[in-house]
C-alpha cells in the first residue's frame, strides 16, 4: 500500500538556520500519528512543507504517493490541514466560508450535504450563519477543523489543535477525529499535550533541533522507560546520595526515576538515615512525558 505520507531526506534551511536536518519518515494509511517536540524542533516546518506552504531546500515529500511539488494538485486534494493559528476570513459566515473552501477544491453544490454534516458534527450548526469574526476562540477552532475537512481528504494534519481549547471541546474534537480515523482517514497531529499523544496515537515521532530523535510505536516508547516514578514529599531536602535518581523537583517535592520497585526500600532507608520525614509518597507508572524528557532534555 502507498504510504499516506513519505518524507525522504528533507532539509530546510533559512539562511544559516537549519530548521530541518535530513528528515526521513513514512506514515502508513490509517495511522494515528503524533509528532512531538519542543518549540523550534521543526514540527510546523515539516507540516508546512507537506502542505506546500514552504518549499524544501532538498529532499522529497509526497502525500498518498503524490509529490507535493510536481503533483501539487493531487497532493493537496489528498491533504487537509488544520493550521495552528486561529486564522479566519472576516468577510464571511461559517457556512459561506466552508462552501468557498470546498469550491477551491473544485467541489460544487453536490458537496453541500457533506458541509452540513461537518457543521453538525462539530457543533457549529447554530453558528452556521454567524460571521467568523464573531465566533469565540473555541468556535473558530472548530471552524478551522471543518475547513480542513470540506474536501474529504484521506490525510488530515492537525497542528497543535488543542492549544487553548477547553476540556469539553477537546474531548468532543477528539471523539470526532477518532471517528474519522476509524473511517480510514490517516491522522497526523502535533501536540504539546503528551497525554493526548499517549492515549490517541499508535505511533510517535519525537523531534529535536530539526531531527527525528525517536520514532516508534507508543507502546515501545513507553517500554524504553522500564520502571516507575516515585513522588516524594519530604520534611527536608533530598539526601545527596539520592540525587542521581532525581527526575525533577519542585520545592520539597521530588520525582525519582526507579528501574525496579525494589528500589523503593533502599530509597526509604536512606531518607530515614538522614532523619528526614516522608510527608507524602506515590508510585507512578512512567508515561510518554518521561520518554520525552529523557530524549529531549526538557518537558
Amino acid at each position: 500500500m502507498i504510504p499516506a505520507i513519505k518524507i525522504e531526506q528533507v532539509q530546510k534551511h533559512y539562511g544559516n538556520l537549519q530548521a530541518l536536518r535530513g528528515i526521513d519518515l513514512a506514515i502508513e494509511q490509517g495511522e494515528f500519528f503524533a509528532l512531538l517536540g519542543p518549540n523550534g524542533a521543526g514540527k510546523s516546518t515539516l507540516i508546512n512543507l507537506l502542505a506546500g506552504l514552504i518549499r524544501p531546500t532538498s529532499g522529497r515529500l509526497s502525500v498518498m504517493g503524490f509529490d507535493v511539488q510536481t503533483q501539487y494538485r493531487q497532493a493537496r486534494h489528498a491533504l487537509g490541514v488544520v493550521p495552528q493559528e486561529l486564522v479566519f476570513d472576516p468577510f464571511f459566515n461559517v457556512r459561506e466560508m466552508l462552501r468557498f473552501q470546498a469550491g477551491y477544491f473544485g467541489l460544487g453544490p453536490e458537496n453541500d450535504a457533506w458541509v452540513d454534516e461537518i457543521i453538525e458534527c462539530l457543533g457549529l450548526a447554530d453558528k452556521a450563519h454567524t460571521n467568523m469574526r464573531k465566533l469565540s476562540g473555541g468556535m473558530k477552532r472548530r471552524a478551522l477543523i471543518a475547513q480542513a475537512l470540506v474536501h474529504k481528504p484521506p490525510v488530515i494534519v492537525l497542528d497543535e489543535p488543542t492549544a487553548g481549547v477547553d476540556v469539553e471541546l477537546r474531548q468532543m474534537m477528539w471523539e470526532f477525529i477518532k471517528r474519522l480515523n476509524r473511517e480510514g482517514h490517516t491522522i497526523i497531529l502535533t501536540t504539546h499535550y503528551l497525554e493526548e499523544a499517549e492515549t490517541l496515537c499508535s505511533r510517535v515521532a519525537m523531534m529535536k533541533q530539526g531531527q527525528i530523535i525517536a520514532l516508534d510505536s507508543t507502546a515501545n516508547l513507553l517500554k524504553k522507560i522500564p520502571g516507575k516514578n516515585l513522588r516524594l514529599k519530604l520534611s527536608a531536602a533530598l539526601p545527596e546520595t539520592l540525587r542521581p535518581l532525581l527526575r525533577h523537583e519542585e520545592g520539597n517535592e521530588y520525582m525519582l526515576a526507579l528501574t525496579e520497585v525494589a528500589q523503593v526500600e533502599r530509597v526509604l532507608s536512606q531518607i530515614r538515615e538522614a532523619n528526614i520525614v516522608v510527608e507524602d509518597m506515590q508510585l507512578i507508572e512512567a508515561d510518554l512525558e518521561d520518554v520525552f524528557v529523557d530524549l529531549v532534555g526538557q518537558p
Binding site: Y14, A51, G52, L53, I54, R55, Y72, R73, Q74, R76, H77, L79, V81, P83, E85, V87, F88, D89, P90, F91, F92, F100, Q101, G103, Y104, F105, G106, L107, G108, P109, Q147
Partner: protein
C-alpha cells in the same frame, strides 16, 4: 455554477469570493469612490467651467472621463492589493494556498475581480453623471477596451504591491507615493499640452496618461495621442506588470517560503 467546468471551479470560486468581498462593503468600495469623483467634478467644474476649453470640448465634459478613469484605476488597484495584504496580515491567505489552485489561476481570479471592481465603480460614476450632464460616447468599444485594460494593469500592479508589502503602512506608501502621483499627473484635470515642454515629456513616461487619453478619445474622438498608440502602450504595460506578478507568484515570493 454548472456552466463552469470542474477544472475551473477552483479559480471561479476564488473570483466569486473576491467579488463578494468588495460587494459586502460596497458602501466603502463603490459608493465612496463615486461620491469622491462627484465632489471633484462639482468643485473643479464650478471653478473652471467657461474659463478653460480643451480640444474644443468644454471643461466639465473634458473632466468627466478623466475622473471616471482615475477612480477605475485606483479601485482596481485597491481591490487586489487590499485583499492580498489583508489576508496576508490576517493569515487567512493560507486557505487559498492549501488548495490545488495554481499560481496562474490565482492571478486570473484576483485580476478578474479587480477588473470587475473597476468596471462597477466606473459605471457607477458614469450613470450618476449622465443624470446631470450630456456626455457623448463616440467609440464605446474603445471606452470599454481602455476600462478593461486599465483596470487589468492596475489590478496586476495591486497583486505585485500586495505580495511585496508586509504591513499596511507599506501599502499606504505604495498608494500615496506611486498610485496617487501617477493618477494626478496623468492629465485627468488638464491636457498635457498646457504643460511646459519638460513636464510634457515626463507625462509621456506615465502609463496612466495613455489610459486616460485613450479613454477620453472614446468619448469625444479627440486626444493628445493617437488612440492606437495609447492602446498599444497600455497593453504592453499590462503584459509587463502581469509578467512580473506571475513571476512573483510562481516563485512563491513572500507567499511560499
Amino acid at each position: 455554477m454548472n456552466l463552469i467546468s470542474i477544472e475551473m471551479r477552483g479559480p471561479w470560486t476564488l473570483f466569486k469570493k473576491e467579488l463578494l468581498r468588495f460587494w459586502r462593503v460596497s458602501f466603502q468600495t463603490v459608493a465612496a469612490p463615486v461620491m469622491t469623483a462627484l465632489l471633484y467634478l462639482l468643485v473643479f467644474s464650478h471653478v473652471l467651467e467657461g474659463r478653460v476649453q480643451v480640444h474644443g470640448v468644454n471643461y466639465t465634459s473634458f473632466l468627466i472621463p478623466g475622473l471616471i478613469m482615475m477612480s477605475v484605476l485606483q479601485n482596481a488597484f485597491a481591490n487586489s492589493s487590499s485583499s492580498l495584504i489583508q489576508s496576508k496580515v490576517m493569515g487567512n491567505l493560507v486557505f487559498v494556498l492549501l488548495t490545488p489552485i495554481s499560481y496562474l489561476e490565482f492571478f486570473l481570479a484576483f485580476l478578474a475581480a479587480a477588473i470587475a471592481r473597476g468596471l462597477v465603480v466606473g459605471l457607477g460614476i458614469y450613470l450618476v453623471v449622465i443624470l446631470f450632464i450630456d456626455l457623448p460616447i463616440i467609440h464605446p468599444l474603445l471606452v470599454l477596451a481602455f476600462t478593461i485594460l486599465g483596470s487589468a494593469l492596475l489590478g496586476a500592479f495591486g497583486i505585485v504591491a500586495g505580495m511585496w508589502a508586509d504591513k499596511f503602512d507599506q501599502m499606504a506608501a505604495f498608494q500615496n507615493f506611486i498610485i496617487m502621483p501617477l493618477s494626478f499627473l496623468s492629465g485627468v484635470f488638464y491636457s498635457i499640452h498646457s504643460l511646459p515642454p519638460f513636464w510634457q515629456e515626463v507625462s509621456h513616461l506615465n502609463p496612466f496618461f495613455y489610459i486616460i487619453d485613450g479613454f477620453r478619445y472614446g468619448f469625444f474622438g479627440v486626444s493628445d495621442m493617437s488612440p492606437a498608440v495609447s492602446l498599444s502602450i497600455v497593453a504592453l504595460s499590462f503584459f509587463a506588470i502581469a509578467w512580473l506578478a506571475l513571476h512573483m507568484l510562481k516563485s512563491g515570493y513572500k507567499l511560499r517560503g
